[in-house]
Symmetry: C2
Subunit: 271 residues, 2 copies
């Protein structure tokens, strides 16, 4: 999917909402446990119900890996279901991978070829040659961790001296990498005070913004400080939508929650 | 497995060799392709042939993930085969994971509970709360990326000013985390000039040292500068051993290569 198409989707749907399928077999509604593949059914029902409110779907691999090869099968079925039924949704493998070149090559194969995600999240710790194997896919997007939403972001990403902040070095250096137009960046909604500075370094790239909802970030702050001329932000919500309910009527509650967020987005986009 | 047992294994076997099963279906000997699960058979044959020369086995998840759920099945079969047949080998899931707390919890489940690895490699970028879900397993080891073996290590891990080196900050801060006795660190053999400084910061923790062999690091330099009173190093070799040959006699070549490395280790340990 190209960025122009994604921007059009945002404007058409009045939404920059990304749904995070952090689907945990221990948390899904009990009545789904009679299904052959309860997590796949849960994902499918959510997608069928919410797709018009979304422009992107983020699947966090951890929740599937914890169930081993069976969980990976569910992951494969979910991405295939999206690609067949909702090809207009931008898909993100939230995998936070990164390794030496010949190994990152294999991760890129896993997410871009074997499963055909539009994008994958990667960790910058190992530097340029650990990311280039992802960037070499011209039609795919590589989403680099910048400033994450968790408390631990303060351990290494942020320094005592602002000019030494690691996340800024990541933003700056990565702009010189081959195909850097195909980079996006993770910037946590809980760190919205940094968004203006982020935008001064990377005015054009899309930002994937987690940490809204369960983690407490503000949507308005995020939009005001993070949006650019292309809108340029995808705000993710996982738990607050997918676990809004946990009984037979869970979809109604998820729909209500997603509609509420999308309504706020509509207001922001049209103000 | 506890560290005392690992140290005893090193002294008994005169080896601190870790075998890296970066087993790539496109690179294994052609005659194995007639097997039901060629990569599993390749791994099994290598383990049966080389186990006496090794104290550890590192399985890099990327090479399995690139084949999807089928590859994950091979990964599960391989770790199960090792745990049943060679429980004295220290097992490492080289996965370089790391995410916010509730998500790292799921990765820890994947590698420590679902598959029962002794250890997993993790990236420090997201800080303390992304690592603690691994460290809370008292009987498992968490191997933090410190200074990696690749060229990209210079992008963020090493600074222009030595006192600002990120990898040193990672070593220092992580020593204050709960259960930090269960931390090990990745320090590339290609960075052996830093090993004395590394040991001044973390004198006691085990180091996992990749980058020997195909990547060009020196075994002697690594041992002289990296070993401590517990020996305290695991030197990994992947490609130079597992792809030493690629025909019907590949095991002989792999065995010869592993014996040559183990002989050098024996000399170093007994000097």
């Amino acid at each position: 999917m190209d960025i122009k198409f994604l921007k059009d989707q945002i404007l058409n749907k009045n939404s920059f909402l990304c749904l995070g399928l952090d689907s945990d077999i221990k948390k899904i509604p009990v009545h789904l446990m009679k299904e052959d593949d309860p997590v796949f059914t849960f994902n499918k029902l959510l997608l069928d119900s919410l797709n018009q409110l979304l422009v992107a779907v983020k699947i966090n691999t951890a929740f599937y890996e914890s169930e081993g090869s069976k969980g990976w099968k569910t992951l494969e079925k979910t991405i295939e279901y999206i690609n067949i039924n909702y090809p207009q949704l931008f898909t993100i493998a939230d995998a936070k991978r990164g390794d030496i070149g010949n190994t990152s090559d294999k991760y890129a194969q896993a997410f871009f070829k074997h499963m055909d995600f539009d994008s994958v999240t990667v960790s910058p710790y190992m530097g340029r040659d650990s990311i280039e194997p992802f960037l070499k896919y011209d039609d795919k997007y590589t989403i680099l961790l910048g400033l994450t939403s968790n408390a631990g972001a303060n351990d290494f990403q942020i320094s005592d001296k602002s000019e030494l902040d690691l996340f800024k070095s990541v933003l700056k250096k990565s702009q010189n990498w081959i195909n850097s137009n195909n980079l996006m960046y993770v910037i946590g909604a809980t760190k919205s005070i940094y968004l203006k500075e982020v935008r001064s370094i990377i005015p054009n790239n899309f930002l994937l913004i987690p940490g809204f909802g369960a983690q407490g970030g503000s949507l308005t702050e995020t939009y005001i400080n993070g949006a650019n001329n292309d809108i340029g932000i995808l705000v993710n919500s996982s738990r607050s939508i997918i676990y809004a309910g946990n009984d037979i009527n869970f979809l109604e509650k998820s729909l209500k929650e997603a509609e509420s967020i999308q309504n706020q987005m509509k207001t922001l986009l049209n103000d």
